[in-house]
């Protein structure tokens, strides 16, 4: 059994163990979950240490027959791209667990169910990034929706059931379109090389243009919904507003990355020609997302809605980087996924704590927090700065790579995308001014600053944000070979510099 499988199974096993704890001992449940997920995070780091950075092939591979009639295998393996995303998931989960102790009690079914759902979700998140079998991926891709659905519906606030339903239906719709495409790929594979879902083999298929375009669209729309790209985004703000902060962290931080990850792993790797055909369209959508998301974020009154729309803008950057088809763009987009995961996590967790203390998520209800709760304000500020891609913080490196990578191929898109950074300043500074600065608004005088638990939860995130800003090399080293391989395999080479080296 591959270490990957072990790591994937650990959360599930933990979930079973948690299930054995009586619901009433919530303290024990929380601690146990935290310890379990932390251990998983630590073990998962060993994936990175044992990872051969020089190789571009899949590592930690394991393949066992699952549904032999369709030649479906339980096949997992990771390359650089998936490794960093798995690490992102496993590291974020304990943080979310630690950060959400009170929020877990506030739901419909109590902490036990909350953490069991989170653990199940963790297994699926690992699975979705590790799967090298198209069918297996799809299974995780769709099954993941269910725990999230219950997390939103059961532990959210506001119009949660409608939001949960919108989320699920939207994603399901996309997923079903993808299913149609998967079936198409499967059948074509059956005709050409024998029925298989093995990604490496599927990448060798010769598909006629029209079919390839349609199949590509099936995949792409699913991923565009997942990673919300304009105009498939409307579920995200609703879901993010309704979901509890911990859920939102996982939803925006990890789950939505499946969309952009899928674009790389499936859209581009399986359908290089169609990718080429659709690149202009996709880049356009990405640019619209960047600007649109930013404008919408500026217009939000609700802090969660704001973060959701900023994410739409960020996903625009990621998509743009992916489809720029340059190594910088691809690596940058990958790094962006990781960085966005952490900065959004920070934003959502702190926003969650703010909202929990204040009992409101309306930006206007805050004010002067810097004076009342300086630590909370600082962490929020740093997270915000990361979100607007301040140099020296993690997002900058990735955003810069994306822009530079895009510019070499699509200068206009890159320039328009760059305008997004002004809007980013607006959408971050306006809420910062309204929440942290200004006079202390009535009702905020007695808010308490971060507790020790909360500090412990947020510290690693802030640390990652800062360290990755200055020293992204370890992660880039993991990503680069794979990103280069993807670009090369899709038939692209970086545009050469006009002069100089």
């Amino acid at each position: 059994m591959s270490l990957l499988t072990v790591i994937g199974l650990l959360p599930l096993i933990s979930a079973l163990l948690i299930a054995a704890i009586p619901s009433k001992s919530t303290g024990l449940i929380k601690r146990a979950t935290f310890i379990a997920t932390s251990l998983i995070a630590i073990i998962s780091i060993s994936l990175a240490t044992g990872f051969d950075k020089t190789s571009t092939g899949m590592q930690y591979v394991q393949s066992n027959p699952w549904i032999s009639s369709f030649n479906i295998n339980y096949a997992v393996g990771i390359d650089g791209i998936s490794l960093v995303l798995i690490l992102l998931s496993t590291i974020l989960v304990p943080i979310v667990v630690l950060a959400t102790w009170p929020e877990a009690d506030g739901g419909r079914w109590g902490a036990k169910v909350f953490y069991i759902l989170i653990l199940i979700l963790e297994t699926m998140m690992i699975g979705v990034f590790a799967a090298t079998d198209l069918f297996l991926f799809y299974v995780f891709f769709e099954a993941m929706l269910i725990p999230v659905y219950f997390l939103i519906g059961g532990f959210g606030s506001g119009n949660k059931s409608a939001a949960a339903m919108k989320f699920l239906l939207y994603s399901l719709f996309g997923g079903l379109l993808m299913l149609a495409s998967i079936i198409g790929v499967y059948v074509i594979a059956g005709n050409q090389i024998g029925a298989t879902f093995d990604l490496a083999k599927l990448a060798t298929l010769q598909i006629d243009n029209k079919t390839e375009n349609l199949l590509f669209l099936g995949f792409f729309i699913a991923f565009a919904i997942k990673a919300p790209l304009w105009p498939f985004h409307t579920w995200l703000p609703d879901a993010a507003k309704a979901a509890s902060p911990g859920t939102s962290v996982l939803l925006l931080g990890v789950l939505d990355k499946v969309g952009t990850y899928g674009m790389i792993r499936f859209c581009i790797e399986l359908f290089p020609d169609a990718s080429k055909t659709f690149t202009p369209l996709i880049i356009t959508l990405a640019v619209i997302s960047i600007i649109y998301g930013a404008f919408m974020a500026i217009g939000q009154r609700d802090i969660k809605g704001l973060i959701a729309f900023t994410s739409i803008s960020h996903f625009g950057f990621i998509t743009m980087g992916i489809f720029a088809m340059t190594t910088q763009g691809m690596s940058g987009a990958n790094l962006y996924m990781v960085n966005h995961g952490f900065s959004t996590a920070a934003l959502f967790l702190i926003a969650g704590w703010m909202m929990m203390r204040r009992g409101s998520s309306v930006i206007a209800d805050f004010g002067g927090l810097q004076r009342v709760t300086p630590i909370m304000a600082w962490t929020f500020f740093i997270a915000g700065m990361s979100s607007l891609a301040l140099p020296g913080l993690s997002s900058f490196v990735s955003e810069f790579l994306v822009l530079v990578g895009t510019y070499t191929r699509y200068p206009v898109a890159a320039v328009i995308g760059t305008l997004g950074i002004v809007l980013a300043a607006l959408y971050i500074l306006i809420p910062i001014q309204k929440t942290l600065h200004g006079p202390i608004i009535d009702g905020n005088e007695k808010l308490t600053d971060l507790s020790l638990r909360e500090k412990i939860a947020i510290a690693p995130v802030i640390l990652v944000i800062v360290v990755m800003g200055f020293y992204p090399k370890p992660v880039l080293d993991l990503i680069n070979p794979t990103a280069e391989k993807v670009v090369t395999k899709a038939g692209f080479t970086d545009p050469a510099a006009k002069v100089g080296k």
Partner: protein, 502 residues
Amino acid sequence: MLIAPSLTYSLLAPILIVLAGALIGVLVEAFLGKTHRPAIQLTISIGSLLLALQQLWQIRDSSSLTAAVNSVTIDKAGIFLQATIVLLSLAAVLLIADQENFVAQASAIPGSIEERSALEQKNQQTEIFPLFLFAVAGMMLFTIASDLITLFVALEVFSLPLYLLAGLSRRRRLLSQEAALKYFLLGAYSSAFFLFGSAFLYGYSGTISLSGISAAAGNGNDIFLLIGIIFVSVGLLFKISAVPFHSWTPDVYQGAPTPITGFMAACTKVAAFGAILRIFYVGFAQSQTQWRPIITVIAIITMLFGSLVAIAQRDVKRMLAYSSIAHAGFLLSGVVALNKDGLAASLFYLFAYGFATLAAFGIITLIRDSTGEVTDLNRWVGLGRKSPLVSAAFAFLLLSFAGIPLTAGFVGKFAIFSAAYKSGNISLVVVGVLASAIAAFFYIRVIIMIFFTDPVNNSVSVIIPSIKSKVSIVASMIISIALGIAPSLVLTTASNFANFVK
């Protein structure tokens, strides 16, 4: 001089055993005191079904066109379908045995003193068991019948008991009787269509055997063949509740006693699809260019219609009825596929759908208030809080119907759509996918009602099921879950058994 026909009894034994069980049941009704009847009847039913199953296992590799002269074809697919029916029936009979759902005395006028006293005396209408066994035998025969007359007889053999059983609900008897009347009238109506079509098929080919019809194809003028196919299809499409021949489904599903609804929804579908598959794969395969577009259109309409109308339902049984209509559309894709994959996929789908349906209706029997089952969805609100386990099970089944991965429904859908795609019917795949999305809407809405809405103050509760119901529901649930996670065994079996002897 009449030469005595030779019947291969060993191959017919599964059906004969069930029929024998039914006959013994009738004798028990006639000669035994009523106190012991329920237990004995149940034992007979289970016993005969198990024996039939055992016999099916014995003959699993057999194949014969002449087991009963030329009336039936024993082949792999037939055996799989029969086994599916028997297995589903085993689960269904346990639900049926929970007599709480059935009328104490069918002849008593609803609301009469007689009815009340029958209830007080805890009378039981144990004739249900032999009727049930007759229906099972008819269904088994329906899947292997290879000439039109045997098909017709089998159709009636399983329909007549169902007409009767549909009217035997303990509560809301007027509705139940109405369901029986509707089912009967429309069923007979569709039989007439079937028969009329058979006549034309006979007129076309000079024979009533499916292989004969197949062999005669292409002899020039196929108008009679087409009329025959059309009318026979109407009869069969009625049984699988394809639009526009579906309209009995919601009414009958709602009115019939819930265990019967479950039995009907699961087993009738298997039997009818078994027959349809055989007829189209064996009898009409040669004329596929004519009927495939027609069935494709019907499949599309059925998927969409079932999914759309289900959204607007407030009654859980009606909702499942429309869901079953939508699933009929999905299954028709397997018929249209007209290849081995399509057959295998259909076999798996029927198996998986059958158990999920049985489990779902089994759970519905548990949700009650003081006046009996509560099927109004508005009153299911907040059930998740009262009984999380049952609600979770029901939610799981709904997700399976919706085709979420890691459920059997998904595997089935995948199998059937990939077969349809392989046969070139991409439009079916696309519409099927869209319909699935629409369908997900109402399944998920029910989950929201159950889990995410606070219970209003009403007295709906989940009763503690009898051991029989429990066994049935739990077994069906286990099969459903197992089929989602590890479908390989059944898929492989279905694939191995996906073979019609022509």
